[in-house]
Structure formats: structure tokens, C-alpha cells
Symmetry: C2
Subunit: 427 residues, 2 copies
């Protein structure tokens, strides 16, 4: 196992920031697992925004005993047991449980192992997952603490129920890709004419759903969202994102004030831990949907968001949940409660992660993609060995084996913090 | 700032373990803040159970820029702003937000600063807090994301309302201490005759509330709790603790099966994140109270537990919440919702922490201690400079200035991991 602290000085390069995160340096605690198989390495990472990446690296190092010396066949034969051995390590569990740094690290390690499974099988992860039997899929899930909402047997029945049409959906996915949306025109601080020109560019590129950051100034938001709606026309989806800055009552008032622009969702209106608050907001701002989840840290939180009606759109994150196993659990829960999954992405590596999850969801879990889409941001993809393809507002199904998280050797060398060339040159 | 990774090999010494944590090595990520004041140092820590303590130390180190070079007078004049500068650091916040490793580290750093405040004032922390004006107390609280349940003005009104009788309560506290309870007789695996003899010892020492671990075997639990009830007689409080091992429905059935022993509370019946699950359990097992909170990670989670009725007893932890500031927020919320606070303690350093919080709660917030008590465990106190006094089943009010978290030089040297004498001798 090798662990790397990689940071990209995006705080002085990025087009925009949001109301909660003014100066992110997109970063990765990146892990590479070596095996005795010829040329077989597994790659995982957790996404961070600068300071503290070294803390995530330390947490990944603390999981060394969970993977070193393990037999890949044994892990693949019991993926649920493998997950529990990491997420349930009794001493490390105290530091969460199943949340924060230790869970971010769990994602990196667990996903590096799934990368090995998929690479060895010669399939991209979405295809590897979609080719698993219903029994194998539920065997990867830890139903502990969610069985009051979803049992193993229910999950099996659901998976068998969505088996019809898999081949047609796979053909559609390979031919047409998977729907996506972007924020290109919606950053805080963009003047109106830049919003207009960036929106026109996006529409010309085939995008038909755009997100705008809100939450700094209410009157400004009313004007900006109306400008965006004016450019989008009445039928395209306009999404707004407050990045947690409001308290519950403020979230309700502010969102209603933006109703004129007909937003399809309001994202992260308040604290990501506030299930009951989101449920109140969802009720008050209906039919505007409440979207959240990029900071929702485990299956138990998602379960409650679904039970309470506080999450109309589930924005799973590729690194916040404890890796593929827990993502599957949340996809199953979302399908049971009829909640569309629209993953969070951007940063670095998040687009690479979540495309596989949405494609698997389409083929084997929810069986649909008309009411859902994946976030996209166009930066930092050049650091990955496998090219990320997004065309005409859609993710193209990857064909390379694995997760697509392997980073280029030059990038690992140059962006290493604090000793890589990019950082030493900055002094 | 100096940071130490201290571990105590309790896994081969402790009397007992619980259903979730079989082999804890009680540990501390310990921080010492040096100042320019003669002999003035601040001491804080976060409690862990072994592996991963180094991750917490790394997180504390990552907060160096938040405290180094700060002026103590300025911090004391704006304790809320100081707290927000740490808990709200935008890059570190991504790693939580306000949960897990990064929040455990926040507790250590924030509490070390409060130790400085109290030491400089020459008062034990409980007295320092209790001597603050209502305005100063609310100035320490971050009302962000809890204002739908408690506003600054409501908190002020509550604090003014509980000012009557403070002097009498302080006299009572100094004379009689604060009620406590203990687990001495209730560890999993104790044979019945040991339960009986340990209970008799505890009663002879003045304890009148005892806790028993449950959750491994239902029939065994029924028998063991009845043995304990038999020894306690009908009027003393018998507490049971499942350490999160059940799912919601199982928790309901199992707790009801133990009703015969008349438990006063069931502690941690399921996942500490499951607000709605706890609310269902609380409704189903009433009048047995549902107690939880040692893994409840911030004020937003406590707010919802109180709003939902899922927490009849609030078991705040001295290191899980983000230090004194957030503890005050939760004490105020608990008082507003009428929920008794019975802090979690044990491990190492937790008793030292929470005694101050309960005493402050008694004097200035809830104004009562008849329906509440502090957990106590009798181990590892010898490593602290300030003696912890518990007599006749009650915590004696500390008189030394500060938090009482300063550890002895020999302990810091010998238990340092992995290079201290205790660890090198173990090989």
C-alpha cells in the first residue's frame, strides 16, 4: 500500500467558489494497492479541499492491517465481510463511527479493492457491478442498522424485479451515455452578462440542466436566477445550491423567494446533518425538490432522510460514503423509497467515481435515468490515466477496466504536497 | 503547541468490555498549549481506544494555524468567534463537517484554550463557567443550524430565569458533590456470583445507581439483569447499555424482554446516528427511558434527538462534541426540551471533563441534579496531576484551577506510543 497527499492549487485558478467554501485547493488522499498479480494494482482516493489531506492519509495508513496480505479471491468471495472488517474495526470505529475522516479513508481503501476486482475481471466497474448476480450484490451490503427500512430479502426481490430489460438498457447506455448537468454559468460573483454568455455556450454544447450557487444576497439571487431562467427557457432544469449556509426558517423563506425562476431543486439548504430540518423545508417549498447528500455520511443517515421525506433527490458522493458496498446500500434504499439519485461530482476524481454508480443504478437497481442525472465539472481530469468522456451533456460509458481512478505518474510526482515541484515552486 | 499520542494497554487489564468494543486500549491525543504567561499552559485531549490515535494527533496538528500566535485576551473576549474559526475552517470543515476525527480534534484544541481561560482566572472550569454572565455564556455559543429550536434570545431568557438560587446550589454542590453512577458489577461475562458480590461492594461504597452491559445473549441478559435488580432492591436505578448492537426492531423486542428488571434506561440501543430509530424505540419501550449521546457528534444531531423525542437522557461526551462552546449549546437545548443530561465518562480523562459540565448545568442552566447523574469509572485517574475525587457515589467539586486534564510528566513519557517505555517493553 502506498499513500500520497496530492494537492492542486485551485484556489487561485478556479472560476468560482460557493457560499461555504471560499478557497478550496482540490486535493486527494490517493492510495495504490500492489498485488502479486502481474501489473495488477488497485487505485482509490478520497477527495478533500486542501488542509487536512494529510489527516486522511494518516487514516488510510491506519487501515494497512485490514488489507495487507489479504487474498483477493477471499475478499471477492465475501465483499460484505471485507467491508465490515474495515468499517467495523472496533478501535478505528470509535473515531466515527462511520463518519468523518475515518469513513473518507474507508472509501479510499474499499474502492481501491473494488478497482482490483474490476481490473482483474477486465471490466469497467459499472459493468463489473452490473454483471453480478442479485445474490452477489446483496452479499456486498451491510444491512446492519438499516434493516428496519430494507431487509436483505426485500433487496433481493427488488433486484430480481429489475432484471427485465437490462440488455436494452445497457445498449442504450453504450449508445447514448447517461444524462448530466453542470454549474459553468452559475458561480457566485459572475456578472449577469457572463451568466448569459456562459449559459449560451453550455446550451450550444448540449447541456440542458444548469446549476447556480445562491445564498450570499437574496435580491442578487432573485435577479441572477431570473437571468438564468430567461436564457434556459421554460423547459430546461434550473438547479440552485446554497451549500448549507441557511438555518431552517431562513432556507424556507429564501427558497420561496426564488420560486419565480422555477428551480427544479434547492440543494443543501441547511446543515447536512439536519434530517428533520430538511423534512420541514421539503414540505414548505414543495414542488421545489430538496436535494442533499454530498455530505451525508452513511447509509443510516440516508435511510432517515428517505423515511422522513427530507431528501427528494439523493446526491451521493463517491468518497463520503464508505465505498462501493455502502453506495449499493444507498442505491437500494433510494430505489425502495422512490428517490432519484443524482450524484455529487466535481472536485477531483468525483466524476470518475460516480459515473459507475449511476450506470449500475440504471442497469440493475432503479432501472431508469429519465428523472436523474450526474453532476459534471470540467477540471482536473487530465491527471487521470483513463480519459473521462462527457459529450453533449452526457457521460459516455467507460470501457477501460476498473474504476478509472489511476493518476498519471507525472501528476503524482508534481502535485505531491508539500514536496512536489508545483508546491516547491510556490515557496 | 505540543501533541502527544498516549496509549494505555487496557485491553489486557480491564475488567470488562462491551458488545461493540471488545479490546479497547484507552488512549488520548493530548495537546499542551504554551503561552508567554509565566507557567501558564493549557491542556486538552481527545479520548480514543487505540488504533487511530495518531490520526487524531494529525488533526490537532492541522489546527496549529488556528491558535498559534493568538492573543488570549482576544479569544476570551470573543469565544464564539474563536470557536467558529476552528470548527468553521473551510478546508478542514470538509473532513466532517463537525464530526468524526476533525471534531474530536476540535474538542482537544478548544478545551485546551478554555483550560487557559480558567487557569488564568484561578478557578476550576465549572466555577469559571458559572461566574460568566448570561450574555457571556450565549456569546460562546454558535447558534448556526440550531436557531429553529433555540434562538440567542431564548437562551438568554432561560439563563436569566435560572439565576435565582445559584448561591444555594453552589453551597450544596460544595457540601454534597454531584450524583454519579458506575458499571463495576455489570460487565459482560461476569458470572452471577461476581455480579452479586460486586454490587454489594458498590452499595457499601455509597453507589445507588448501577449499569449493566447487555446485547450479547437475550436469555443471559434476562437472568443477569434480574440478579442485579435482586441485589439493588426495588428503588435504586438499574441502567442497561447495548452499545449500538441492535437494529431498531430488535432493540424494541430485546428491551421489552428485559422489562422485568425495571431498567431506568436503555443506553445506545442502536446506531448513534439513527434519530428516527431512537424515536420509535423510545415510544415502544416507554416508560423505560432511551439514553444516548456518547457518539452524538454535534449540536445539530442533539437538536433533532430532542425534537423527535428519541433521546430521553442526553449522554454528552467531553470530547465528541467540539469543546466547551458546543457543550454549552447542547446543555441549553436539553434544558429547553426538558431532557436530563447524564454525561458519558470512563475511558481516560472523560470523568475529568464532564464533571465541570454537569456542575455548570446544575448551577446555571437546568438548575437541578435530582433527575441526573454523571457516569464514573475508577481507572487511569492516577495519570492526571489534579486528583479526581469521587466519594460515596458522588463527584466532589474540583477546587484546582482549570480543567484538570494536565497529565503527569512520567505518564506522558512512559505511555507515549510507540516509543514510551511501556510500549517498547511490550515489544
Amino acid at each position: 500500500m502506498s499513500v500520497y497527499d496530492l494537492r492542486f492549487p485551485t484556489s487561485d485558478l478556479l472560476d468560482g467558489s460557493d457560499a461555504m467554501n471560499p478557497d478550496p485547493d482540490y486535493s486527494a488522499a490517493y492510495v495504490v494497492l500492489d498485488t502479486s498479480g502481474p501489473g495488477l494494482t488497485g487505485h482509490g482516493m478520497t477527495f478533500t479541499i486542501g488542509r487536512g489531506t494529510e489527516v486522511c492519509c494518516a487514516a488510510i495508513e491506519a487501515m494497512r492491517h485490514c488489507v495487507i496480505g489479504q487474498d483477493l479471491d477471499a475478499l471477492e468471495a465475501d465483499p460484505g465481510g471485507f467491508w465490515r472488517s474495515i468499517a467495523g474495526d472496533s478501535q478505528l470505529r470509535w473515531l466515527g463511527p462511520e463518519k468523518g475522516v475515518i469513513h473518507l479513508a474507508t472509501a479510499a481503501v474499499v474502492n481501491a479493492v473494488w478497482d482490483l476486482f474490476a481490473r482483474r475481471a477486465g471490466k469497467p466497474l459499472w459493468k463489473y457491478l452490473s454483471d453480478m448476480s442479485a445474490e452477489q450484490i446483496v452479499a456486498a451490503v451491510d444491512f446492519r442498522h438499516i434493516s428496519d427500512a430494507l431487509t436483505r430479502d426485500e433487496a433481493l426481490t427488488m433486484l430480481h424485479g429489475s432484471e427485465a430489460g437490462v440488455a436494452e438498457r445497457e445498449a442504450d447506455l453504450r449508445a447514448n451515455g447517461y444524462p448530466a448537468y453542470i454549474t459553468s454559468a452559475g458561480w457566485l460573483g459572475y456578472p449577469d452578462d457572463l451568466i448569459r454568455s456562459k449559459t449560451r455556450e453550455a446550451l450550444a454544447d448540449g447541456w440542458d440542466a444548469l446549476k447556480m450557487k445562491v445564498g450570499r444576497d437574496r435580491d442578487d439571487d432573485i435577479r441572477r436566477t431570473m437571468v438564468l431562467r430567461d436564457e434556459l427557457g421554460p423547459d430546461r432544469r434550473l438547479l440552485i445550491d446554497a451549500n448549507q449556509v441557511w438555518d431552517v426558517n431562513e432556507a424556507i423563506d429564501w427558497t420561496i423567494a426564488l420560486k419565480g425562476a422555477d428551480p427544479w431543486w434547492i440543494e443543501e439548504p441547511t446543515s447536512p446533518d439536519d434530517i428533520l430540518g430538511h423534512a420541514r423545508i421539503a414540505q414548505a417549498v414543495h414542488p421545489i425538490r430538496v436535494a442533499t447528500g454530498e455530505h451525508c455520511h452513511n447509509r443510516i443517515m440516508f435511510k432517515q432522510f428517505f423515511q422522513s421525506g427530507g431528501m427528494d433527490i439523493a446526491q451521493i458522493d463517491g468518497c463520503r460514503l464508505g465505498g462501493v458496498n455502502e453506495v449499493i446500500a444507498v442505491l437500494l434504499l433510494a430505489a425502495k423509497f422512490g428517490v432519484p439519485v443524482c450524484p455529487h461530482a466535481g472536485g477531483i476524481g468525483l466524476c470518475q467515481h460516480v459515473q459507475h454508480f449511476s450506470m449500475f443504478d440504471y442497469l440493475r437497481v432503479s432501472g431508469r435515468n429519465d428523472d436523474r442525472m450526474i453532476e459534471y465539472a470540467g477540471h482536473l481530469h487530465e491527471h487521470f490515466v483513463t480519459e473521462l468522456e462527457v459529450r453533449g451533456g452526457r457521460y459516455i460509458a467507460p470501457t477501460d477496466a476498473g474504476f478509472g481512478l489511476e493518476m498519471k505518474i507525472d501528476s503524482v510526482r508534481d502535485y505531491a504536497f508539500p514536496d512536489g515541484a508545483v508546491w516547491t515552486a510556490r515557496g
